[in-house]
Symmetry: C2
């Protein structure tokens, strides 16, 4: 092994390139060394640690409900989390997970992690919601560590942090240093968009990535479930939608049971599932199983057999949407549904004489964005009756559609000077907003593009403090044109992790060199937990990925 040398962070990265990250503890004088939080990701709001190390033994270590906790052993969210984190800490298959070893002096053992839920309503049996309290306090000491949170959601985040503090020494013992953590997310909405229409993504791939989301403290799975290409969502009300519109009606669909499983798996990890049913564009696949839903396109005076966006001039359209979203609102428990509304192509509408007549009748002139707004407005009114809130892509706002005050406007386009102008406009109008423009992870490029994602700052726009507060978070989007089960997971991780720290940690956490070191550790940890997170750069993990290849 390489001799120990004292080096600074910049040289350190060069060393990591040559020798792998194992040498990253071989220097001093840096806060990373002193605080020993080299392996934490995303970085908590406040960490104080000391060189006093305690041992953990799989024989006597327990994660238990603290006396006085409002949650007990009937709280399945915590019970299954205890099991999960016990496994992460001690390894599924006696895997060694030595990665780094902070300074330490001899200490006693930690035999318990006590988890105390302080609120009378632990929310054990609930779903995480937009206002879920994810804050927690973690105090690692002997003989017992204490994790305090108001709700189970904070406890889940604290368990992850606790597991990240555990390290293996050179003799295989699990150690944890005396540490105090006080933590909460900077933004309430921290999401990942996966697209299951351009390619079908098998259930187990979705579940595996929900696990990885939890390790990164993401709390929203934005499920872009259908689109032009295929309609894998199996609707009870309109079974023909997937029967005709999926790539295959049996092998390439999500059954009601699949959807339930995704939602429950996510709930156990404090993750909301927000489905997106994007209309009126992006709906080619809907048309296969629902007659007259799409606009017939014309060549001259005759229909040419092609179809455009949802047909906005038929009452049957709105009747369908009412029934469809009624189902959606019961299948998906989240308070929000994403209604899309992006990239509506007017070509087909322009070709259709019935549409033209409708435009005339409504005095829309030739402004098809008015027709688009007409459709969306009626759709929003329909969805409002289901008592769901809605998210929409920015075009809906840009086109002047009247939105409920609690609407969440999703900014995905970069203007000439970036995303700031749109954020300023949306927040000036008083709407909550969500940023995705800098985080289109499907747009791959050579090299360390995680840095670019890491540096993006959601509050970096001209606006009042009040406006800044309306940015409630962001989402990393992995659109599916070039992604399926073969490459989704390594393409998502650890690149999405860059976004997770930007959305969780304090605004001041921006040091790319520091982040590089921690993210390397974090990606090796993800590999040890079974996720093929791709490398940031040359180097190695002590225990490399052992997938089926």
């Amino acid at each position: 092994m390489a001799a120990l040398v004292k080096i600074g962070v910049l040289i350190l990265i060069a060393a990591a390139v040559c020798q792998g990250y194992q040498d990253i503890y071989d220097f001093d004088g840096k806060k990373l060394q002193d605080t020993d939080y080299v392996s934490l990701w995303p970085l908590p709001q406040k960490v104080q640690s000391s060189a006093t190390a305690f041992k953990l033994s799989s024989v006597n270590f327990q994660i238990i409900h603290a006396k006085g906790s409002s949650a007990g052993s009937s709280c399945s969210i915590l019970q299954t989390a205890f099991r999960r984190y016990f496994d992460y800490i001690f390894g599924y298959k006696k895997k060694q997970n030595t990665k780094w070893e902070p300074k330490k002096t001899f200490g006693e053992a930690v035999t318990q992690l006590q988890v105390l839920i302080t609120s009378t309503d632990s929310e054990c049996d609930g779903f995480p919601d937009p206002k879920a309290d994810e804050s927690y306090e973690l105090s690692v000491d002997q003989p017992a560590a204490m994790l305090k949170a108001s709700k189970v959601w904070g406890a889940l985040r604290g368990l992850e942090t606790f597991s990240q503090l555990v390290y293996e020494d050179e003799y295989g013992s699990r150690n944890i240093n005396k540490t105090e953590v006080s933590d909460f997310p900077r933004f309430a909405h921290r999401g990942i968009l996966l697209d299951t229409s351009r390619h079908y993504v098998p259930l187990k791939v979705i579940l595996a990535n929900l696990d990885a989301m939890a390790w990164n403290k993401f709390n929203v799975f934005h499920w872009h479930i259908v689109d032009d290409n295929s309609f894998p969502y199996m609707s009870r009300t309109f079974p023909d939608l997937s029967q005709q519109g999926a790539y295959h009606p049996y092998t390439h669909v999500y059954t009601p049971s699949d959807v339930k499983m995704v939602i429950e798996f996510a709930r156990m990890r404090g993750i909301r599932v927000i489905p997106e049913f994007d209309t009126p564009g992006h709906t080619q696949s809907w048309g296969k199983g629902q007659k007259d839903l799409l606009t017939p396109c014309y060549s001259g005076s005759t229909p040419n057999g092609n179809y455009g966006p949802v047909n906005p001039i038929l009452n049957s359209t709105y009747e369908f949407m009412a029934d469809f979203f009624k189902e959606v609102s019961t299948v998906f428990p989240d308070a929000y549904v994403h209604l899309g509304g992006d990239e509506v192509d007017f070509t087909c509408w322009k070709s259709n004489p019935d549409i033209t007549k409708f435009m005339d009748d409504h005095a829309f002139g030739r402004d098809y964005s008015k027709l688009e707004s007409y459709y969306i407005q009626r759709l929003l009114d329909i969805v409002s009756t289901t008592s769901k809130g809605y998210m929409i892509w920015q075009e809906v706002f840009d086109n002047g559609v009247k939105l409920k005050p609690d609407t969440l406007v999703h900014v995905w386009m970069n203007g000439a000077s970036g995303f700031g102008e749109e954020l300023a406009r949306v927040t000036a109008a008083g709407f909550n907003t969500l940023l995705s423009a800098p985080w289109y992870l499907d747009w791959i490029s050579y090299g360390q593009d995680w840095e670019k994602y890491y540096k993006a700052e959601p509050q970096d726009f001209k606006g009042t403090e009040q406006q800044k507060k309306l940015v409630i978070g962001g989402e990393a989007c992995l659109w599916g044109e070039y992604v399926d089960a073969t490459n989704l997971t390594p393409r998502l991780w650890p690149r999405a992790s860059a976004v997770s720290e930007r959305l969780w940690s304090d605004k001041s956490v921006r040091d790319v060199n520091d982040a590089y070191i921690r993210l390397n550790q974090h990606r090796c940890r993800m590999i040890e937990r079974g996720i093929p997170a791709e490398p940031l750069f040359s180097g190695y993990c002590r225990h490399e990925y052992k997938g089926n290849l």
Copy 2:
């Protein structure tokens, strides 16, 4: 499922986007339909097929040695290939592999594929060499199909083609149409470079990719085995090289037994293994286990603890190289070894006063490329004594080093007007050359970059016919900075397949639309055989990847 419609190739691709490739046989008037070779990749030199379909039954189908063949059941290359291809044809786990179904009329069964090796020396027990005869003739008829080849290498290629002709009909029966194939490679050297230094690549990942290489008729594995970052090659003569220079001396090395296994696994598939031991640059990892091998760098008049390229002024360097390459020449049976010689950084040499003195003594002035050439010249002389041929990166040629006539110059840099000028220079000097410049697959970008690789034409430079013939092939390079076991395989396939067709098929095979259709089928076939080849674009495979995620 989508209704059958008659569409041309361009619309077809749009349809593939929306509906997946399963509809690609739903049109006519195109040669693809008529010839039914929609699933062949790379396209053989000559295919004639008919609508007459024969059945194949796993119960009575056999692949056997034809009467009069110079190879028999003692020929392990063919015996194991028969087993492998039987499995591909009938499925390991009763997998269905329906993907497309050509026109057919009722036919009889094919119960045998007879394999006839016509040359008296089948080369059963040999290694493929630079002049290996890979040509074959395949005649599919009932009751027996006949595969004729001069050597086993052609038989291997023909078995792959035979397996690609088999399709499953809608009832699960295996079918093959009456077909005549006459085939041979356009270029003799068709390689893949994998880099096991920037990241360690586990043995099973290398083996899996050798399988995929064979499916694509690649015949060279260029093993860039060591570099600055790590030295995973375990040398018997100098065990400290990997003991000190690998990322880890046990878990991140290739033992002599590993190397043997790679070579034998490759031999069974007609693939040469050419190791690259790149000097004098790219050798930081060598220095850890071999004292005085690298040049000490100076700050002013004192060594600063850093090291540069191999030290070219010490006799001990050449003694080491003689011993080292003697070992390499026995471990690796191929007729060639790649000696690197690229990207030598002169900074350290310039700083070293002993080097300066040596330059003066040899009247090199301050032209360090002369020193580089001095080193390479001595190295080449050393390697020549092992009776190996050598490959070198283009810089060695550019710097005017005197090369043996059988040297293979590897062109990797794009000049101002592409790679053509360098190819012209190298071939004008009478050297064989190998192209990699357009095929750096580690340089990823958004979208269908396989097209760019596909369109590159190795003989597209100004030169005589004689010069063109000196281009003996090319290699797709997947450098390892951003690649390890988590993402190597989907990043390599099917992008490298674009290069495989360029190097195997006739120069006239350039239609990107046709290629898109066949390559989609081919990538789904790779998935069915267990390789996570990533998607070209939106769509699906009937049987999606079912890896461990």
